[in-house]
Amino acid sequence: MPKDNEKNSIKKIICRCEEITEEEIREAIREGYTTIKSIKRRTRAGMGLCQGRTCSTLIRDIIAEMTGDKKEDILPDSVRPPLYPVELSVLGKKVNKE
């Protein structure tokens, strides 16, 4: 945990949910993880509650900058349900086939 005076002279956070820093993303890219999906697996960026909705375009920019890849070639992570968080108790209720 950073000391109080370090708190705001801060590392730049990229993934807000999982608190993954820009430096951690860059390190993963240097290791050879150059897709949004593989960076997620390597660093956890995009694994949080928002499922990368906030950070994936930021990560795309960093990949493009470091690898020279075109942004159009840096594909988004695969989308999975649920598109909104759902409570386990709701999921477990008897499903209504309307």
Binding site: K12, R80, Y84, V86, L91, V95, N96
Partner: protein, 551 residues
């Protein structure tokens, strides 16, 4: 096993695109279920308290939330079934759609056709301190002020000078906050200059070629540092400004919200002009996945009017595909909608989008055509106008067809139209009882003032969504000229009182006297203020300093 409900058309998203699709499909007999995750329909419309651009068919000059009410009424009269607080969790195996209703109940259903109108997602911008409380998306701030009626802060820095950033800055001022500045990384203001003009007259500085470097604070934002950028968008060392601010709003554009489309298996391509990755679609708005149609910001970030028309087009396409409209009728209707859409995409602002849309249609129709070839579609020059980076000079203003001549100004009250960009908008034409304002042949053409017909009545002032029309009366009295301008802040100035007249950049020019505050009902809450000032300021003063407190 009980049968799963199967609807004819499921429309996902009740913003303008979704409402448009639901209304049109329903009009021709399709049974429509419209779902939206919010507790009110209308999408972003109910946050939009400004008057919209567009033409009469688009209810131009009407405030966004009123357009929303109008569409809801239309949906209601067409018998559209609307299910609110209904979140689509995803498409599952065998094209089953999984819904979460009111956070408490799951439902599964199938649909013969689907229109995805899931809108856009605000892009993020990261900088040290962007995780501090007080930094928020501009859309979040807009929800707070216009829906919740709570100020997010008192001193706000806006990041991004696109239309959203400019409009929300203006709305923050209307709500009573101070906007300490707008930073724009590009070298020119990216939104419409009429929107920029509103906030600049209110004294908000716009820093082009600047970005936010850092937000600082303990438990929340206390100050922000901005830095100048060189042409390659690298910070120029040493050129920094520090402001005391408690809030930073991020408004750096939108991405199409393609989550559901992607899950449903639609094919995507990257179109930076339209916000990034988006699903391909044909000229019926059908995606590459048969039976799934898309419309609105999902099919490319544009504005509410094109979203609505794309939605309506998707709606009739669905109706036609289900056999509710015969092919001749459909062809005719479709042509009309494309005509409207092409008009909305006319002018220099729509040009890149218009080209990108052509590419989308080509890539979906001719899969064998390589993207590079499609890329070669000529970008023909379609404007002769200069691309202004910021508010132009008076001399430049005077060259526009809406600016009256010096000799006409000296004769007495006359409208002065400071509309200088080719925007699809024409309510001023209909507003003028003397037919003194013309826009033709295209809706994106600049308004032309027939200064001999103009009586200077000022009805056009409140009609202009860009707040770019003023009335100048050189002969108000022997010493004084009068200037009338739109005003949408509280408190209103008092008749007979004094105020500080400001120019187009919000700089104080001279003390002025308030001679009229016109709040008539058909101005729809845009007050028209008339001030008297020294005659020499007739081409300079365009507003007054906002009055801070009722005191």
């Amino acid at each position: 096993m009980e049968r799963m409900r199967e609807v004819e058309l499921l429309v996902i998203g009740a913003g303008p695109a979704g409402l448009g699709a639901a209304i049109e499909a329903s009009r021709y007999g399709v049974k429509v279920l419209l779902v939206d995750d919010k507790d009110k329909p209308g999408g972003q419309l109910f946050k939009q308290i400004h008057k919209f651009f567009g033409s009469k068919e688009h209810l131009a000059g009407t405030r966004g939330f009123d357009i929303g009410l109008h569409l809801l009424k239309e949906a209601d009269s067409q018998g559209v079934e609307i299910s609110l607080q209904t979140k689509v969790l995803g498409t599952m195996d065998k094209d089953v759609i999984s819904l979460l209703v009111k956070e408490r109940e799951m439902k599964l259903l199938k649909a013969k056709r689907i229109v995805l109108a899931t809108g856009g997602i605000e892009k993020a911008l990261s900088f040290p301190g962007w995780n501090l409380p007080g930094v928020m998306s501009a859309g979040a701030a807009q929800t707070l002020i216009n829906i919740e009626r709570v100020l997010p802060g008192e001193r706000i820095l806006m990041v991004g000078s696109g239309n959203v950033g400019l409009i929300i800055s203006y709305q923050l001022l209307q709500a009573g906050a101070d906007v300490v500045g707008i930073v724009e990384a590009g070298s020119s203001i990216t939104g419409y200059l009429v929107h920029a003009g509103k906030v600049m007259r209110a004294g908000v500085p716009i820093y082009t070629s600047h970005t936010i470097k850092e937000a600082r604070g303990g438990k929340s934002v206390e100050e922000v540092v901005i830095t100048a950028l060189d042409r390659r968008w690298n910070p120029i060392k040493g050129i920094e400004k520090t402001f005391s601010a408690d809030t930073v709003c991020i408004s750096v554009g939108l991405n199409p919200n393609g989550q559901l489309a992607s899950l449903a298996g639609c094919e995507f391509k990257f179109f930076p002009e339209l916000g990034g990755f988006l699903p391909l679609h044909d000229d019926n708005m059908e995606s590459t996945k048969k039976g799934i149609y898309i419309a609105g910001d999902l099919s490319g970030i544009e504005e509410a009017n094109s979203a609505l028309d794309e939605g309506r087009l998707a709606g009739i396409s669905v109706a036609a595909s289900l056999g509710y409209i015969d092919s001749n009728r459909f062809a005719k209707l479709k042509e009309d909608y494309w005509d409207r859409l092409n008009k909305l995409r006319g002018g220099p602002f729509g040009h890149k989008r218009s080209i990108a849309k052509k590419k989308i249609l080509l890539s979906s129709q001719q899969k064998e055509m390589r993207y590079q070839e499609i890329d070669c579609i000529e970008l023909e020059e379609n404007t002769k106008l200069k691309n202004y980076k910021s508010i132009p000079s008076l001399k430049e203003f005077q060259e526009f067809p809406g600016y009256p001549s010096l000799s006409r100004i000296k004769k007495g009250a006359v409208a002065c139209i400071e509309c200088i960009q080719e925007i699809p908008c024409d309510p001023c034409v209909a507003a003028c009882p003397f037919k003194a304002i013309n826009i033709n042949p295209y809706i994106t053409d600049l308004p032309y003032l027939d200064e001999n017909k103009c009586k200077g009545c000022g009805v056009c002032i409140a009609s202009c969504p860009g707040q770019a029309i003023f009335v100048l009366n050189y002969n108000y009295s022997s010493e004084k000229a009068a200037i009338s301008f739109p005003y949408e802040y509280l408190p209103y100035p008092k008749i007979g009182g004094k105020a500080v007249g400001v120019n187009r950049k919000g700089e104080p020019v001279a003390e002025v006297k308030i001679v009229k505050v016109d709040k008539r009902a058909n101005f729809d809450k845009t007050a028209v203020i008339t001030i008297a000032c020294d005659k020499k300021y007739i081409n300079q003063i365009r507003s007054i300093e906002r009055i801070k407190d009722d005191a």
